[in-house]
Amino acid sequence: MEQTKTYLSETVNALKPSGIRRFFDLAAGIEGVISLGVGEPDFVTSWSVREAAILSLEQGYTSYTANAGLLELREEISAYMEKGFHVTYSPKKEIIVTVGASQALDIALRAIIDAGDEVIVIEPCFVSYAPLVALAGGKPVTVQTKKENDFKITAEELEQAITNRTKAVILCSPNNPTGTMLNRHDLEEIAAVAKKHDLLILSDEIYAELSYDEKFVSLAAIEGMRERTILISGFSKGFAMTGWRLGFVCAPEEITQAMLKIHQYAIMCAPTMAQYAAVEALKNGQEDVIAMRKDYRRRRNYFVQSLNEIGLDCHIPGGAFYAFPSIQSTGLTSEQFAERLLLEEKVAVVPGDVFGESGQGHIRCSYASSMEQLQEAVKRMKRFVERI
């Protein structure tokens, strides 16, 4: 038969299928898998938050909200950001409630990119960044970080990637998949480069609540950075609300209003029920966040030490809920390791190269699993590593 013409856009055709997808298909068919492959909390959303959503339904709050989100929620977000992270954003002009941090990333990129603009993506990183840049018509320029530097980007590495088309950098701390958290000093270094080259930074702070050793510092709180930062965060990770699809973005008024234009045409508003839940999360959920953070921290300590003991060299991740050990000692590639571990010992992890070239030789293990599951996973991984 003759090949019919494709209706798909070149941009979409050029997008690579996510490596995670392939692994998901492989793992989904196997019984009794312990999954360390999930990028979301194992906690169920706090009951008080779920109950607030149920109440909103009972009371009939089932219509659209303002495009930017319930004002009450934006006010809570503003207060939360100021109290927790020392950044000040006007609820009426500088905050938009979005469909997850994912949509915040999308509108931020679409608001700033002209065809051919370059956006620097620091790998290993969350799998959506480069495709979202491409979909917005931009050119993702990837920069690789090194394990020797705990996967932190250095000022020189960043500067080398900058051209006269560079518009922005996407930064993520604490990081998915490496767990690396940037401290004030690291951020100041990056800020200096951004100022020198007049760049905007999209700061993905979705894991801000999950930092374990040092207090999290927001990029927007660094001297002179507020006006060149789009701060992206949300409820998925810290508040264990992934399925609610709720996040937010804070930026200077001009950028926020531009993002709001896209948001109002493409989405109208974030889900109303989820917004009511988020109001409750911000009003009364802090205690649960602290309890979850303590729990993750203990699991991290246990899991990372155990990985090192079984011979998988792992730096101590300062935040998020991922360990990113090196598997080079086994002589396998990330893909081989993950595939064999899944088939032979039924533990699902994600090959590190899915998150970028520099993730090769590593695997991402999420320790957002019960201690019992982690203990069993360590046992199986030990057996596996000893055998190969």
Binding site: F24, A27, A28, M371
Partner: protein, 166 residues
Amino acid sequence: MKLTEIELEIVEVLEKNARIPVEDLAKMVNLSVQETEMLIKKLEESNVIVQYSSIVDWSKIAGQEGVTAMIDVKVTPKRGVGFDEIAERIYRFKEVKALYLMSGAYDLSVVIEGKTMNEVANFVSQKLSTLDSVISTTTHFILKKYKHDGTIFEQNDDDKRIVVAP
């Protein structure tokens, strides 16, 4: 007694799972096994950790279902010892699983476990109400335990997440 941050962590972990291997607990709190053992010993000796026990759902064991009652007891306190003396007389009975001094309409809340309702009734009428200081008792039988000591008995807590996600 004031506990350090790490001692508090140890208590929190053990309260949820007393059977966790000390090697794993040590890793969780970033201490050596010996250090962790020493701290646990200290917590036990100072009676912060009073005992290790299991939460058992007796209703699942045929022939062992048993009954639990909560009894509101009004008493006359005694000069000099207040409620302590009568409380001690009551909690020494092995049938008494818990005893609390309460504010409000009555004084002592007594939790009794027995094999049958009759057994509990006999205990109340023969042992408890006959004590000198006891003025009155009101017995409430527990029909079903949904949650006990922070543990939900019938919980559907399957992991509902997909296996691999970004």
